[in-house]
């Protein structure tokens, strides 16, 4: 039986960071993921905003952690070699109710220590975002807000964790948990694992994992959100994150110019559902809100719609939990249950928090060999001509373009596969293939062929996104 000091259950953004932060200590660590790849659940669909920290009440863990995480984000993304755009955000008010909300957020933000927050008058805002609809009153400008690609960040953290000795176990689903004097016994569909400690980061299943061993204490009520993505070449794109604060007390539209250059619009929120299917009403709402807020935005540039699901934690009696729900039901067992916004912003801080707590319980020593640096897959399209010429001369695959919309080379695709991509979407998450205007129509075939060749599997076994999504029809449905 395999033995570890700590097992992290769930290879999403949080699990990857928990494992990475744990690997700063001298511990044998396993990261268990039920699916074929990391970051395939909640982490793959998100508003992608790194929040400045004015949304939370002063003195709360969320407020304190968000402000700290935001300030450290440049350094984190530099360590992990992940693109981060500190584009700033504008929270937009068109009426008296929203004005009051903005003032309240400004106050919160100042009390939380958010740097650079300013309430701007309309003239100033139109100068920054000329495409905004008329009638604007004020905007709360937050220069420290930014955007990052959530799955790229998670995958980078995972790679760095593995680089620092974490054992990644994919296709390994935890089915039962036992506790004894020695620690915990995890029964998985790939055999049993002994561990002294557990960090449960199982996302939408985190409460179930905890309930394998402990009485229910928190439940997850999922909400879904519908989003649209506009191509990077769409006309009328804003340059800041826009958060529209409507006069009605509903959640307004958020507009995010992503690090890839595309524009993300959404979410239309739907309560109490686990459904990843977008709704007509939701897509209509997003389109309508977008054209009202940005009349010049060309929605013909729409290339994709998708739904995200977030886990909202509730007490068993139905009261909602506003703080981060970090559970500690027994010694050396920690759970992150129902971590939603600002979970992306605080992913590293949350990982650090549970890792530090666990390290104390395990009396773990510092891992002096810990290396925080991870190098991304070199991207040809960001290079200068000369750099690109030299790279292609040295490595022929860097000259061959596989995804022509996003300019991704064969070398990048092969490196993505070498680093763990085993599906068409796994390649997409690592190197951005298929994210452009043709949405993979022109490159999917080539990527499937490369996966088949590199992983020595028949092309008929290549999937879009894991089991059951075979690209070639096999009659199994």
């Amino acid at each position: 039986m395999e033995r570890f000091d700590a097992a992290v259950i769930g290879g999403g953004l949080l699990g990857c960071f928990a494992a990475r932060e744990l690997s700063r200590r001298k511990l044998d660590i396993a990261l268990l993921e039920a699916r074929e790849d990391v970051c395939t659940g909640i982490s793959r669909a998100n508003t992608a905003v790194v929040y400045p920290g004015y949304d939370h009440e002063p003195g709360t863990l969320k407020a304190e952690m968000t402000v700290r995480a935001n300030a450290a984000f440049d350094r984190l993304c530099k360590e992990l070699d992940v693109p981060f755009s500190r584009c700033g955000s504008l929270m937009l008010s068109f009426g008296p109710r929203a004005d009051a909300v903005l003032r309240n957020k400004l106050q919160n933000g100042e009390a939380n220590g958010v740097p650079g927050l300013r309430l701007l008058d309309a003239e100033r805002v139109y100068a920054m975002e000329p495409g905004l609809a008329p009638g604007l009153r004020h905007a709360l400008f937050s220069p420290t807000a930014g955007t990052v690609n959530p799955w790229q960040l998670g995958i980078a953290a995972c790679e760095n964790a593995v680089h620092n000795g974490v054992q990644l176990r994919l296709n390994t689903k935890v089915e039962a948990l036992h506790r004894d004097a020695e620690g915990y016994l995890l029964e998985t569909d790939r055999g049993s694992i002994r561990t002294r400690a557990v960090i449960n980061c199982a996302g939408l299943a985190a409460h179930w994992v905890q309930e394998l061993l402990f009485p229910p204490s928190v439940r997850i009520v999922p909400t879904a959100g519908d989003y649209l993505v506009l191509d990077k070449n769409s006309v009328g794109k804003p340059t800041h994150i826009l958060e529209y604060e409507p006069e009605e007390k509903v959640k307004g539209l958020t507009v995010v110019p992503t690090v890839e250059g595309s524009l993300l619009l959404g979410p239309f929120e739907r309560d109490n559902t686990l459904d990843y299917a977008t709704t007509e009403g939701g897509l209509f709402w997003v389109r309508e809100q977008a054209s009202r807020l940005l009349p010049g935005l060309d929605l013909d540039g729409t290339i994709r719609s998708f739904a995200a699901v977030r886990p909202n934690p509730e007490q068993m009696d139905g009261r909602s939990i506003h703080s981060f729900c970090i559970e500690h039901p027994a010694e050396r067992f920690w759970s992150l249950i129902g971590i939603k916004t600002p979970g992306l912003t605080c992913a590293r801080e949350l990982g650090q928090y549970v890792a530090a707590a666990l390290a104390r319980e395990l009396h773990a020593e510092e891992n002096k060999a810990f290396d925080p640096i991870r190098r991304a897959i070199p991207k040809a399209h960001v290079l200068s001509f000369d750099e690109r010429r030299k790279l292609a001369a040295a490595e022929a695959d860097y000259g061959e373009i596989i995804c022509c919309c996003e300019d991704v080379t064969r070398a990048e695709v092969l490196e993505a596969i070498r680093r763990g991509a085993c599906t068409v979407d796994g390649v997409k998450r690592r190197v951005g293939t298929g994210m452009g205007c043709c949405q993979g129509a022109r490159c999917e075939q080539k990527i499937a062929a490369l996966l088949s060749e590199a992983l020595r599997m028949p092309e008929s076994a290549v999937t879009k996104d894991g089991k059951g999504t075979e690209r070639i029809y096999n009659g199994a449905c």
């Binding site: 299917a277 013909d300 719609s305 001509f385 690109r388 129509a441």
Partner: protein, 297 residues
């Protein structure tokens, strides 16, 4: 830095035709670049007949049409560079080319863009639902069946009755698959009458006009769609394991998006405007090629 008089981007029917005409007009320094490993653009995967009635006076298949153009090209000194992506074109009349092992900059005097079109994807439509496997553009399905000998699916619903949609309806039927229907938003089929008769009627494939897809169902693989009758607003569930989208073609001009109209830049074939038949794309490209070639001879 390499220098050519005429750079042509895209070696489909338009690019090949433009190159031949430019050569005939006297230009002796032509580079024809195409991203694909085989020339002909979309023609090699169009194995049905119906091409070349105007240009060659007979009905050819796509591969045959390509062979005719390549045979003519072999008698010229046009340099054909396959597997070559043109990454960018700049105002100073230079292009960056990328192929296996080589990224280079090429100076040119004239540029003909013959990059064809791309297919509109389902993501561009406000269609709700899941994003399962089993959804292909018509061109993707055509490539899978005709060039890769792969099976995209068995119970096939086709959205869009342009020529490509109807041709793929027949193609699936010939493969022994069940084409449930071709859905069309308009009052009648979108493509040419001859394709309707040859591809739809002859194979008894139902054309459902004034209908569209509103929602996609299925976890893993597509299991069906919610379709709407646009006039009555009535909806129905149609079970399928494959959805083929023929939503129309968008002229592919990404390469020259940031360039203003320049006297040295011409558009040939479908990237200029979408032509119904190859012959007319080719003949427009010939005119463009001739003009450019004559100016450079």
């Amino acid at each position: 830095m390499e220098h050519v008089k005429l750079l042509i981007v895209g070696a489909g029917a338009a690019g090949l035709s433009a190159a031949l005409s430019a050569w005939d007009a006297g230009c002796r320094d032509i580079l024809l670049a195409d991203r694909s490993a085989i020339p002909g653009g979309v023609l090699p995967q169009c194995i049905h007949r119906g091409f070349g009635l105007t240009a060659f006076g007979e009905e050819l298949s796509g591969p045959e049409y390509t062979e005719r153009l390549l045979a003519a090209l072999a008698g010229t000194g046009v340099r054909l560079s396959l597997g070559t992506e043109v990454l960018s074109v700049s105002h100073d009349k230079a292009a960056v080319l990328s192929r296996r092992g080589c990224v280079s900059r090429v100076r040119f005097e004239r540029l003909i863009l013959a990059s064809g079109c791309r297919e509109k994807s389902i993501g561009a439509l406000p269609v709700a639902g899941t994003r399962p496997a089993g959804i292909f553009t018509a061109g993707q399905a055509q490539e899978m069946i005709n060039l890769r000998h792969q099976n995209p699916g068995r119970e096939v619903l086709i959205l869009g009755s342009g020529d490509l949609g109807m041709i793929m309806a027949r193609r699936f039927s010939l493969e022994g698959k069940h084409v449930i229907a071709v859905l069309e938003q308009g009052e009648t089929y979108g493509g040419m009458a001859r394709n309707y008769h040859r591809c739809m009627e002859a194979y008894h494939i139902p054309l459902c006009c004034r209908m569209t897809v509103r929602e996609i169902h299925g976890q893993g693989r597509i299991s069906g769609v919610t379709a709407e009758h646009l006039d009555s607003g009535e909806r129905e569930y149609i079970a399928c394991d494959t959805l083929v989208t023929a939503l129309g073609l968008i002229p592919e001009r990404a390469l020259v998006r940031e360039l203003d109209a320049s006297p040295w830049l011409s558009l040939a074939g479908n990237c200029c405007r979408v032509h119904d038949i190859v012959d007319s794309a080719a003949s427009q490209a010939q005119r463009v090629g001739h003009e450019a070639g004559a100016s450079l001879s």
